[in-house]
C-alpha cells in the first residue's frame, strides 16, 4: 500500500488499519535503521516500539507537509538520538568507555551475523560524531538519497555531503591504521 493510500485510510476513520499498514510497511526498515545504533537487539526492539507508539500518538497531527516516509524516519531518528545522548550520559557517570563497551557487546552479540570486515567497519563508524555517524549509516548502509536524508535530518544536501565525506575519510584512516 502506498503512503498516500495509508493516509487516506487513516483520514477515512480506519486509524487502526492504517497504523497496522504503517507497521507492516516500515517496521523492518526502521528496525535496521535503529539497530545500527543500538547496542543489542533488545534495545532496538524497545526503541522500535517507542517509535511506533510516538507515530500512533502523532498521527492525528500529521498534516501531510512532509512525506509519510520521511516523517516516520524523523521520529525514529529522534528516538535514536535521544537514546545515544542518554547512553553517553550514562557512560560519563559510570566512568566506563563507551567505545570499549560497544566493541565488547558487538563481540558477544548473538544477532551479529557479519564478517570481520563488517565488524571493523561498524566499530570505526561507532567512533564518529553523532551526525556524521547518522549520515554515514543512512547513506552507506541504508542507501538513502541525500534529498531524503536532508528532509529527515532537516539539513541541506550540501552539508550532508560534507558530513559523509568527513565520515568516509575518518573511517578510511581508522581502517588503514588497523592494518
Amino acid at each position: 500500500m502506498s503512503d498516500e493510500a495509508i493516509i487516506e485510510l487513516y483520514r477515512s476513520g480506519s486509524e487502526e488499519k492504517a497504523f497496522n499498514e504503517i507497521v507492516r510497511k516500515y517496521s523492518e526498515r526502521l528496525y535496521f535503521h535503529i539497530r545500527n545504533f543500538a547496542g543489542a537487539h533488545e534495545e532496538a526492539d524497545d526503541l522500535l516500539q517507542d517509535t511506533f507508539i510516538k507515530i500512533w500518538k502523532a498521527l492525528p497531527q500529521f498534516r501531510g507537509d512532509a512525506r509519510l516516509y520521511t516523517w516516520i524516519y524523523r521520529i525514529a531518528t529522534n528516538e535514536v538520538l535521544n537514546y545515544l545522548r542518554k547512553k553517553r550520559l550514562k557512560y560519563v557517570f559510570s566512568f566506563t568507555s563507551e567505545q570499549k563497551d560497544y566493541v565488547s557487546r558487538l563481540e558477544a552479540d548473538p544477532y551479529f551475523n557479519g564478517d570481520q570486515a563488517q565488524k571493523r567497519l561498524l566499530i570505526a563508524v561507532s567512533k564518529l560524531p553523532e551526525i556524521q555517524r547518522l549520515v554515514f549509516m543512512m547513506r552507506y548502509f541504508e542507501e538513502m538519497e541525500y534529498k531524503d536524508i536532508s528532509e529527515i535530518l532537516n539539513s541541506t544536501v550540501g552539508s550532508l555531503k560534507a558530513s559523509y565525506h568527513h565520515a568516509y575519510m575518518k573511517i578510511k584512516k581508522e581502517l588503514s591504521e588497523e592494518i
Binding site: N20, R35, Y111, G114
Partner: protein, 140 residues
C-alpha cells in the same frame, strides 16, 4: 538497502506487527497510565533536582576551596604588599648623601634636633634672610 550484518529472532517482525497495538494499551491502562506518567514525571523531576543540587554543591565547594585556600593567601599577600607600599619610600632618606653613605646617622626623633641645627639648616638652605627671620620669630 545493503544487507544488514544483524539478524533478528525468527518471526520477530510478524510478532512485532501483531503485538503493536498502542490503542489497546491506552484503553486498558486508562487512568493508571496517567498515574504512571505522573510517577515518571515526579521521578524525573527528582532526578533533575538531585543533579542540580549536586552540581551546585560541586560549584560551591570549588568556590569555597578556591577562596579558602588561595583566596586567603591572596588576601594576605595583598595586605602585606599594601603595607609595604604604604610604609615605603622611593628614596629611603631625604638627604642624597645617605644613598652613598650607609653609616649616615639620621636623627631618631625631633628632640635630638636643636634650635642651632634648625638655624643652620635655614641659613644654608638658600632661604632669604627675611623668611629665615620670620620663621625664627614664629618658632620662638
Amino acid at each position: 538497502m545493503k544487507k544488514s550484518p544483524f539478524i533478528v529472532p525468527d518471526g520477530y517482525f510478524e510478532d512485532f506487527a501483531s503485538k503493536m497495538h498502542p490503542w489497546e494499551t491506552e484503553a486498558s491502562t486508562g487512568a493508571a497510565a496517567g498515574r504512571t506518567v505522573r510517577v515518571h514525571s515526579v521521578g524525573r523531576a527528582v532526578r533533575y533536582a538531585c543533579s542540580v543540587a549536586a552540581g551546585l554543591a560541586v560549584l560551591v565547594t570549588g568556590t569555597l576551596f578556591a577562596f579558602g585556600v588561595f583566596g586567603s593567601r591572596q588576601a594576605d599577600g595583598l595586605e602585606e604588599g599594601y603595607l609595604d607600599f604604604l610604609y615605603s619610600d622611593v628614596m629611603p632618606m631625604a638627604d642624597p648623601e645617605a644613598i652613598f653613605n650607609p653609616d649616615f646617622d639620621v636623627a631618631d626623633s625631633a628632640e635630638e634636633i636643636s634650635q642651632e641645627d634648625v638655624m643652620e639648616y635655614l641659613i644654608n638652605s638658600g632661604i632669604s634672610a627675611e623668611e629665615t627671620y620670620m620663621l625664627l620669630a614664629e618658632s620662638y
